[in-house]
Amino acid sequence: MTAVQKRSAIVEPSLVPKTRQDDPFSRLPRWSRYTIYLVVGVAALSLAREITGAGQLTAVGTFRFALQLSLPIAMAGLGGLWSERAGVVNIGLEGMMVLGTWFGAYGAIAYGPWQGVLLGVAGGAVGGLLHAVATISFGVDHIISGVAINLLGVGLTNFLTTTTTSWGAQTKESPAIPANIPRVDLLPFLKGPLTDLSKQGRFFLSDTARILLAFTTNVSLLVVIGVLLFPFTYYVLWKTRIGLRLRSVGEDPEAADSLGVRVYGVKYLAVSMSGALAGLGGVMLVYLFAEKFQSGQTGGRGFIGLAAMIFGNWRPGGLIMGAGLFGFMDAMQSQVNSTAHALLVVAALLLAAMAVRQLIKKAWRSAGIFAVLGGLSYFWYTQTDELPREFIPYSAHIATLLVLVFAAQRLRMPAADGRIYRRSGR
């Protein structure tokens, strides 16, 4: 593999401009920064709703749909996080997700809903294991192995769909799954007051109530599991010994090896876990949307998950923001034009917030750029009646691209990410 030996620094060190002085805001603890981001985000949505009158912008249904659309992406992203933190770039997430959809649907039809979830997760994990064998034991370039796994995932599931006789003569999809994972109300005692508040149309408070309603009522247990995997991942990777070893392998495998870490073993674990999570993402696509397997169901969400993870700077909190952005924009696609149009005001407000953030930082030029962009966005809103529909589903992609352009110097990937590691003496 001489062709693509030195892969994949997201930020090539030699090309990065010098970082600026840190400002008070970046010195805040991480959790409080994320809280501020959240509050600003909700406030922007709420204010935009007041300005434009597009009530659907913060409707319960919109948020529930956005949550469900975010989760498969988030699971793929979490898979990417596990794998890349251990130094293995996993572009095969898409293929592992496809395996998850097929085996999830098969298990659900043949055995039952929970068995289906397990089988789908196992299917994804097998894909991850294959990636591990190719990249860790055989030292194949990570991206090449990933591309091959994506080919295999699609080929194998299409083959299995035609040859599974119990599924009938369909060659592109399975029959509907007979039973789904139950849906529950998480905080039944809050449902009444929240519903009241959500109907009052108060700035910020009612919108927050609607978001809480969307996230706590009529939630599939699968969604609950998916959300809980975030604190779980954070705890395991950042607060346990195995997590420390895993991350050390992603930063400097030689040093980790010299300290007695079983580098290959840790990498195998991380990449298999990565496949399992991507498989769970595939299972969610089956259970939360079509309720059956469909060829091409994943629609590139494995790649998007990877992008969301990079958007989030290889951290779970940032990944939530990235996946949320992609899910929200996906949900906007099915909205009426006026709601999608109101997104321009949201963008203008968020850009204004960014400008303020840069002002605090005393980065005058960036502040100016953000302010101008925000102004342009608002101007665009006043001059038009609708957004070009074709771009709405891709606005999160454009946002990710912009984040890469403007924040590339602040993103920090694991130091040994994508590097082929071989124990010396072998």
Partner: protein, 383 residues
């Protein structure tokens, strides 16, 4: 040295055999007989219609793989061929239908527009990498998705044929005859191969051949190609010898994108004659990656790989008419790629180990005190 060469040739063949075995096993597990599949392949896979089909399919694969290989030559991963050819095909189809030129000029014009638009779209990740240090893989993945939005936006708002005039799906105005590629059946008839009009060998395959020659000449016979390969194999040394790495990134992406622009022209300039959402099939960019890997970025190697891949595709028709699962070809393709890249890596390691062993032997011969026995003595040849 000779031993290494034969190993390098044997590796992909062994890997292919392994892939065939895995596919046979999967067929057995699914209650199909591999013997039936082999019988169909032998009896019907090599008929004239299948051969024509293979040649026609191989063209786009070859061009796509060359576009990817140009990036590989300097360690750039142009995973964005997918988006580049989609945008280029649309713009070229639209531009080609809006002008009137005599035939050769018209075809050249369409090629030029396609190359320019492909290069323009590929310039985005190139510039982002060179100026902002953004990894080209992730920006290209984003741009692949954005290309879908961009092409449907351009098509719907600016480039679509007037409503009502051309029935059917939304698309550009069909190209006039002067902008289409002729079929090669007439030429083939003069050398004694008579094909029925239903199976046409498209002259697009000649475009692929031309691109293969251009690729070879530019990469191995020009200063630019030398710089490109030098940057790929040792960026520090290349920089020390005066190559500007940032400029090389952008130029390599432009070249790769220009070639990628040709990938989607097959249908536009032959059967369909226009760009619609279905006339340009998607996925050719990813196939190109696989084909480039199989062919090891070598112009001739890629040609073999493209034909092999296209042949596997062409087998789908006879397999499904015989009630056999045609999807097995996709599994075969996937396993082939995986096992071939593993085989290449294993061969590379064996080579490195042999070289190291040879060096050690030389070292010992030089430094150690003269051995007691005659110099032919130590025969420490590791397996």
């Amino acid at each position: 040295m000779k031993q290494r060469l034969s190993l390098q040739l044997a590796a992909p063949l062994l890997a292919l055999a392994f892939a065939l075995m895995v596919s046979a096993l999967i067929l057995l597990l699914a209650d199909y007989s591999p013997a039936d599949v082999i019988r169909v392949v032998v009896e019907e896979g090599f008929r004239r219609q299948r051969m024509v089909d293979t040649i026609n399919r191989a063209g786009p694969y070859y061009i796509s793989a060359v576009a990817v290989a140009i990036g590989f030559k300097m360690n750039l991963f142009n995973i964005g061929v997918e988006g580049q050819y989609k945008v280029a095909a649309l713009v070229a189809a639209w531009a080609g239908a809006s002008v009137a030129f005599p035939a050769p000029l018209h075809v050249a014009f369409i090629f030029m527009v396609a190359a320019l638009s492909g290069a323009a779209y590929a310039a985005i990740p190139g510039i982002l990498k060179a100026t902002r240090g953004v990894n080209e893989v992730i920006s290209s993945i984003m741009l692949n998705s954005i290309a879908f939005g961009l092409s449907s936006f351009l098509l719907a708002r600016f480039m679509r044929a007037p409503k009502g005039k051309y029935p059917g799906t939304i698309g550009t105005v069909p190209l006039p005859g002067s902008g289409r590629l002729p079929s090669l059946n007439g030429v083939l008839a003069t050398i004694g191969i008579h094909l029925p009009t239903s199976s046409r060998v498209q002259s697009y395959v000649l475009v692929a051949v031309a691109i293969g020659i251009i690729y070879h000449v530019i990469i191995w016979r020009t200063r630019f190609g030398f710089d490109l390969r030098a940057t790929g194999s040792n960026p520090e040394a290349a920089q020390a010898s005066g190559v500007n790495p940032k400029r090389m990134i952008i130029r390599a992406m432009l070249f790769s994108g220009a070639i990628a622009g040709f990938v989607g022209l097959n249908n536009i300039m032959t059967d369909a004659g226009r760009y619609t959402d279905v006339s340009v099939i998607s996925g050719l960019g990813f196939t190109g990656i696989a084909v480039a890997l199989l062919g090891r970025n070598n112009p001739v190697g890629i040609a073999f790989a493209a034909v092999l891949w296209a042949f596997m595709d062409a087998l789908q028709t006879p397999l499904s008419t015989n009630d056999l699962p045609k999807q097995i070809t996709a599994i075969l393709q996937g396993v082939t790629v995986m096992s071939v890249v593993i085989a290449y890596e294993v061969v590379r390691r064996i080579g490195v180990r042999q070289q190291a062993a040879a060096l050690r032997r030389d070292d010992m011969a030089g430094d150690a005190p003269p051995p007691s026995e005659p110099s032919g003595g130590p025969k420490v040849v590791p397996a």
